[in-house]
């Protein structure tokens, strides 16, 4: 499946990625498993996605938890807790 991933705020700056297109062998994948895959890239990725930072995830513009399933064509996003207003 093909998905698009966006990164925001501290994640974007630290990972030096604002977005990427990713092709995966799976038909579906939980958000937690995707984090695990990405965390294998380097220590920085591991720290940002699975470390002490409270990373929030969204699928197709909806906030979701780690168990949410990602399927082909989805737009995924990772970001820190929001601080607007």
């Amino acid at each position: 499946m093909k998905i698009k991933i966006f990164y925001f705020a501290r994640l974007k700056e630290t990972l030096k990625f604002s977005s990427e297109d990713l092709e995966l062998p799976d038909d579906e994948l939980s958000l937690l498993k995707l984090k695990g895959l990405l965390a294998k890239r380097s220590e920085v990725w591991q720290k940002m996605l699975l470390g002490s930072l409270k990373v929030r995830g969204a699928i197709n513009h909806e906030l979701v938890d780690d168990q949410a399933l990602i399927v082909d064509g989805d737009e995924v996003a990772f970001f820190p807790p929001v601080t607007g207003g």
Binding site: A9, R10, F79, P80, V82, G85
Partner: protein
């Protein structure tokens, strides 16, 4: 309903006049304007940068306003949130709610702000004498949101 995410400043009077225009059923118009403070956590802030998630931010704000309208008798609502670089004392956010009675308008306005703070994807970065820093979310904001949760 008007939802806007923009870099330009907004004019409170213009927005309130627009909401009142050609209607006579509004008895209460409550508004909140959030500003950039020059001091945060003991440090002088010279600039604030706001980032957002285009597409999701607008949808999240729409959902929050719709949620408020399902709880109180909201006749109209306006949310304007600025993004980009802002200086101290500049306006960041406007929430305005029109209702027949003040109680409904006050509650809906406060609800929208509390949810915006904890649910809408915006992120603040401050520039101080010691450099740039991303702000962390505050427990007090999460507590403010939780008090609206239905049993």
């Amino acid at each position: 309903m008007k939802i806007a995410v923009q870099s330009e400043d907004f004019d409170l009077n213009f927005e309130l006049a627009r909401m009142r225009e050609s209607r006579q059923d509004i008895g209460a118009l409550v508004s909140f304007v959030g500003l950039v403070r020059d001091l945060n956590e003991g440090e002088t802030v010279s600039q604030l940068t706001l980032e957002h998630y285009p597409g999701m931010t607008e949808k999240a704000l729409q959902a929050i306003v719709a949620d408020a309208a399902s709880r109180w008798a909201v006749l109209d609502a306006t949310v304007v949130h600025r993004v980009g670089s802002l200086q101290a004392s500049e306006q960041i956010v406007l929430v305005a709610v029109a209702s027949a009675h003040r109680d409904q308008a006050f509650k809906a306005c406060e609800f929208i702000m509390d949810y915006l703070k904890t649910q809408a994807p915006f992120w603040k970065k401050e520039l101080t004498a010691s450099g740039e820093r991303w702000l962390d979310d505050k427990d007090s904001d999460h507590d403010a949101q939780k008090r609206w949760q239905l049993p």
